[in-house]
């Protein structure tokens, strides 16, 4: 069995985001990491590796800097590394197309990914790639096991959790799992250095990176919050709840 893990390199969630000239100033980002939900997907893949003898192939799409995320994946045990090298930005369609093509090339049986990336916060990649590969998709997964040729996953629903079964290849999109993430050790880091990265351009994969009709025109800071408002007396609490819904849009 071969498990593909889709990982994305993103600014560390604690990093400050500076914006200059209508786009995020990448040079000011102090630390890049594997997107947190992707780390849970990677951990689940490594568990399939140790429990079911699966081979783990880590796949990323992004500029040159993102190869670091593949080396990080190798340091904790990923067996093969594929980098779809693409410096530009694009709509979801072509990104998913390139990732789906890379998965096909890797000959993986199942695909694990994070439920959404920490930069775009979109959550489109796993279901989109599944559709392009003609596979079912199970989202909000916290665990996957291989059981008698089927895959059994635990996913969260609006009312709780459920265990679901899929017969055959599938894409699983990971929420935070219960597993503690493994930490790379020095031996893993030294071995990762020696692991080759297969670097492919979208053209190598036969995909075009047309934007699919979606164009990010500019990135800006969120609007300034209104100045603090103070209310006297307990009765004002209901008015504040209305403001939390309508002004702040947080509940």
């Amino acid at each position: 069995m071969k498990v593909a893990v889709l990982i994305k390199q993103v600014p560390d969630t604690t990093a400050r985001i500076s914006i200059a000239g209508g786009s995020v100033d990448e040079g000011s980002i102090s630390k890049w990491t594997i997107s947190p939900y992707d780390e849970y997907a990677l951990e689940a893949a490594l568990k399939l590796q140790s429990e079911s003898g699966a081979k783990v192939v880590a796949i990323t799409l992004g500029p040159q800097r993102s190869s670091k995320s593949l080396i990080d994946a190798a340091a904790v045990g990923a067996d093969e590394l594929i980098h779809v090298l693409y410096e530009g930005t694009s709509g979801s369609l072509s990104l998913q197309g390139a990732l789906a093509a890379a998965v096909r090339k890797s000959e993986a049986d199942i695909v694990l990914a994070g439920k959404q990336a920490a930069d775009t916060n979109s959550g489109s990649t796993a279901p989109g790639v599944a559709q392009m590969l003609g596979l079912p998709c199970v989202g909000l997964v916290s665990e996957v096991k291989a059981v008698d040729g089927n895959f059994v996953a635990t996913r969260s629903t609006s009312s709780g959790m459920e265990r679901v079964s899929v017969n055959g290849p599938c894409v699983f999109a990971f929420d935070k799992g219960d597993e503690e993430l493994r930490r790379p050790n020095v031996r893993g880091i030294m071995m990762a250095k020696k692991k080759p990265i297969e670097s492919l351009s979208p053209a190598d994969l036969g995909v075009s990176m047309e934007d699919g009709g979606v164009n990010v025109e500019s990135v800006g800071y969120p609007p300034e919050k209104p100045a603090g408002q103070t209310f006297q007396g307990a009765a004002s609490a209901s008015e504040v709840v209305t403001k939390l819904r309508e002004e702040a849009n947080v509940i």
Binding site: D12, S30, I71, V186, I189
Partner: protein
């Protein structure tokens, strides 16, 4: 607000990719496993056993040693590890320094093949803890006059004497002990449980509270003949260990100073007095700018010393300079940081007072500040000034 390591000159860009990856692994570990637990460990005066296991699990113990299950990293990587550990606490770094440089190193360099195979893999993985016995109650800066002695007795050696200020002593599975055999300093491996050997813990420290400090007591302690380190005689043995440990300290002190700077900067930005953050006042800015200046210089010293260690082009005086300078400025930075924190600075909500108290020990151990000055004085003049004799 995560920890942001001050690196004004981007000195870490000089590291290799692997060195930076190791830095990140250790830094994350300190964030997750040291920072949330260190204050409680200090209050209770314990070194958490999980730290031993996790340090071993990361594979960073005995960092620059090669073979026998050791990591085989560069001295620069070892320095980076020390820096990140000491950003958490000097006690954690002390554990790693003693294990790697003072206990593993002499076995690796001066031990027999059998000794290396017996001890080093378990020490690298953290299963076995080592300690180092050189200093005695009455012989600190002057170890050459030590009184602990070893005597041959049939197929054994008998050790008598006492060592003091021994990091890891009580929790150690083995001790590398320096004692005089026929008047010559030799190294011996003493194991926990050996007849006549005990290691009572020293209590009541105001410094390095999360580190175990002990006495080693030998009362007709009987050890087999194959426990002597065959490869070295005289003070060169312990001093070569100390060179490596002192090198690590020169990096470690930078980590403690970076932690103090990070806390002071963030406190100064958020503490409002007279309607403005105190960071807006010139006296505070002057302190922060001075801290930045000294940390940047200390980083460059440590990094270049690492390059020299890795190329082999170093002399012990190079290490004396870096250890002395970097601990000295780190201690002063901790004091100034405490000052910036005002009364809040004495609370364990902030790391500054803990670092300050720790660094008082670090200034004294592994060659006191003054002794390192005298080493440099001798280097400059050719005249030793340690003793009153010519």
């Amino acid at each position: 607000m995560g920890y942001e390591a001050l690196d004004f000159y981007d000195v870490d860009s000089l590291l290799t990719d692997e060195e930076r990856m190791i830095r990140d692994v250790v830094r994350d570990w300190v964030d997750e496993s040291v920072i949330p637990k260190i204050e409680n460990a200090c209050r209770e005066g314990v070194f958490l056993d999980e730290w031993r296991q996790e340090l071993g699990g990361m594979g960073i113990l005995g960092a620059p040693l090669k073979g026998y299950g050791c990591p085989g990293l560069s001295y620069t990587a070892y320095g980076v590890i020390c820096r990140e550990l000491e950003r958490g606490d000097s006690g954690i770094r002390s554990f790693a320094s003693v294990q790697g440089s003072l206990a593993m190193y002499p076995i690796w360099d001066f031990g027999s093949e059998e000794q290396k195979e017996k001890y080093l893999p378990g020490m690298a993985s953290g299963e076995l803890i080592g300690c180092f016995g050189l200093t005695e109650p009455d012989y600190g800066s002057n170890p050459g006059d030590m009184v602990t002695k070893a005597e041959e007795d049939d197929d054994h050696y008998i050790l008598n004497g006492a060592k003091m200020w021994i990091t890891n002593g009580t929790i150690a599975d083995l001790a590398v002990v320096w004692a005089k055999l026929d008047g010559v300093i030799r190294g011996f491996i003493v194991e926990k449980g050996d007849e006549g050997f005990s290691a009572p813990e020293m209590k009541g420290k105001h410094s390095l509270k999360a580190s175990v400090t002990s006495e080693l007591v030998f009362q007709d302690c009987k050890i087999p003949k194959d426990r002597i380190l065959p490869g070295v005689k005289g003070l060169r043995g312990p001093f070569s260990c100390l060179n490596n440990a002192r090198y690590g300290i020169s990096w470690g002190a930078v980590g403690a100073a970076q932690s103090c700077f990070d806390s002071a900067r963030s406190y100064a930005m958020s503490r409002i007095q007279f309607d403005h953050p105190i960071a807006a006042y010139q006296l505070v800015q002057n302190k922060l700018a001075w801290m930045l200046r000294e940390i940047t210089k200390a980083q460059l010293l440590a990094y270049h010393l690492g390059v020299k260690k890795d190329s082999g082009e170093w002399v012990p005086e190079h290490i004396s300079l870096a250890k002395m300078n970097n601990v000295d400025i780190a201690l002063e930075i901790a004091r100034v940081a405490r000052d910036i924190h005002g009364a809040n600075g004495i609370l364990d909500e902030y790391p500054v007072m803990r670092h300050m108290a720790n660094l008082e020990s670090v200034k004294t151990y592994e060659g006191t500040h003054d002794i390192h000055n005298l080493i440099l004085g001798r280097h400059i003049t050719g005249i030793q000034a340690f003793t009153r004799e010519a």
